[in-house]
Amino acid sequence: MEVLTVNDLWVKYYTISGIVSAVSGVSFKLRKSEMLAIVGESGSGKSTLGLALLNMVPKPGRIERGEVILDGVNILKSSPREIMKIRGSRISMVFQDPFTTLDPLRKIVDQFEEFLIEHGVDKTRARSIIKEYLEAVGLPERVMYSYPHQLSGGQKQRVSIAMAIALNPQVVVADEPTTALDVIVQKQIMDLVDSIKEKYKSSIVLITHDLALALERADTVMVMYGGNIMEYAGKTELYGNMKHPYTRGLFEALPRILQKTLPKSLPGNPPDLRYPPPGCVFHPRCEFAMEKCKSEKPPLIEVSKDHIVACHLYG
């Protein structure tokens, strides 16, 4: 059963130096208690896509076209009032940097309580929710009465996660939730996300630049490049049967421990999305590029069940 359906989503930024096509025609479906990892490097449009899922693309950006259907409702068509109600309660977000996303001037309990009350929870119930969910993310109760600066990075991120799941939303979007943290804490936080998925049956969109993390944790992996989907498949299918040259390139760039050879690297640079290359966006860096790739944008092809690739090699 799908909780979230995205159809043909287009997002552009109208900057002074040109129009940037950040997301170009992305579609996907998210099932209940599924973890979808959206993998991409900087400039792949993954973060913009994450914000678009909550209909909150920032200013010079605009959602041009497409649908984001959450539980049967297209939230891109919802009124500002409705969207406010949906955000935080039915779809919520965990941001990359826990150091900048909590209000430093207010105690955790005040921020948490305000958010719950905004969504119609009464005060006594709010208190018990706060206690319950702080415990669920492994924080002691006294954290409630702390200011953000009194907490460590990992603790802050736990608070953000507690807020994101407190109203039991269908979808939690986590944008690089561990990138700002150290390796060991990264693991702790990802373990927490896993356990939450199990316990609350939430669906999670994990946005990350780390293919290894995606392959380890997610159920489904979507690889993006230059605003486009390159490949989209279940984890095991993808791990055993990588198709797209870009996905393979990313995978081969991962260091294998103790092998005396260096991982491979992709030649070239990410595209300038003000002037995206014609045809396949990846063709200037692709070692298998054909004439066709330079002029014709490859369609999404289903190579096997639930495994989609955008590449002329499989056309």
Partner: protein, 321 residues
């Protein structure tokens, strides 16, 4: 084997003042390290472990509070900057963020020519030609295209190559590479590392490679040192440390690598909590509040760095006999 850089019992303090209150932070606490000629020494640790500070002490960019810095058998700990300056062309730093590394008001060409003029008094024309060759050497081709550009006009990968070109133009013998690829996208990281390795091969350099990525170190380093809260907690050859880590912290680091950790048959160690406040380190062993293998004495007494043979040492009571 001869040494290029040796650090003896180095202590480094910083005074931080946050909103009016001053406190002393010990960033490096009694660390000794030896880097052999032609070797890549990998220094690994989390942020706040003091690894970057240690790297800068080894370049004498910081003057240690205690201990000694010996570069090519010469004690440079207390030399005035004026005397160290000519030595600086033998030792170079490659920083993490390429966008901060070159003065944004300079062109790439100016940035490359400047050190040549200062150190060798090279003529303008000669310096220009050598800068072009240096850019070619790092794969920025054609160099004329890059000489007049400013840092902001290059991609991260290109700029990091330019930064490397500038460091290498002086033909240094010793390089401190401080997370040189962690700000770059995964797909281009390897090419930058490859570049560093090629230079080392060609000019017989020694590298102190600082990173939080132990998997990467396992591919390139000869020896590894692991730092935790200002102290060196384990040291040894790369095969030994990765295949048979001794310190619980090293084990935890290896257990935390996504995907790969499940592929190496290791005993998994998970730590609680986070790296402590460097201004207020725990008593006894600094890892003890997080360590699952904690013993009674870990809580009160700091373990010594124990030699366990084969050039390996570990700072943990578990190995004390």
């Amino acid at each position: 084997m001869s040494t290029i850089v040796e650090l003896l019992d180095v202590v480094m303090d910083f005074e931080t003042s946050s909103l009016g209150r001053k406190q002393k932070v010990r960033a490096v606490d009694r660390v000794s390290l030896r880097i052999n000629k032609g070797e890549i020494y990998g220094l690994v640790g989390e942020s706040g472990s003091g690894k970057s500070t240690l790297g800068r002490v080894s370049l004498r960019l910081y003057k240690p509070v205690k201990g000694k810095v010996i570069f090519e058998n010469k004690d440079i700990t207390y030399l005035p900057e004026r005397v160290i300056r000519p030595l600086r062309r033998e030792m170079q730093l490659i920083p993490q963020d390429p966008y901060g590394a070159i003065n944004p008001a300079q062109t790439i060409g100016e940035a490359l020519i400047e050190p040549l003029q200062v150190h060798f008094n090279t003529s303008k024309e000669e310096a220009f030609n050598r800068a072009c060759r240096a850019l070619e050497e790092v794969g920025l081709i054609p160099p004329e295209d890059f000489m007049d550009r400013r840092p902001m006009e290059l991609s991260g990968g290109q700029l990091q190559r330019a930064v490397i070109a500038r460091a290498m133009i002086l033909r240094p013998k010793y390089i401190v590479a401080d997370e040189p690829t962690s700000n770059l996208d995964a797909s281009i990281r390897t090419s930058v590392i490859k570049l560093l390795l090629d230079f080392r091969e060609k000019y017989d350099q020694s590298i102190l490679f600082i990173t939080h990525d132990i998997a990467l170190l396992s591919l390139i380093a000869n020896r590894i040192g692991v730092m935790y809260l200002a102290q060196l907690v384990e040291e040894g050859s790369v095969e030994q440390v990765i295949k048979e880590p001794l310190h619980p912290y090293t084990k935890a680091l290896l257990s935390a690598i996504p995907l790969i950790s499940s592929q190496i048959g290791l005993e998994k160690v998970y730590l609680k909590g986070e790296i402590g406040d460097p201004a207020n380190p725990p008593r006894g062993c600094r890892l003890h509040p997080r360590c699952p293998l904690v013993l009674e004495e870990c809580k009160s007494r700091e373990p010594p760095l124990i030699e366990v043979g084969n050039g390996r040492s570990v700072k943990c009571w578990l190995y004390y006999k």
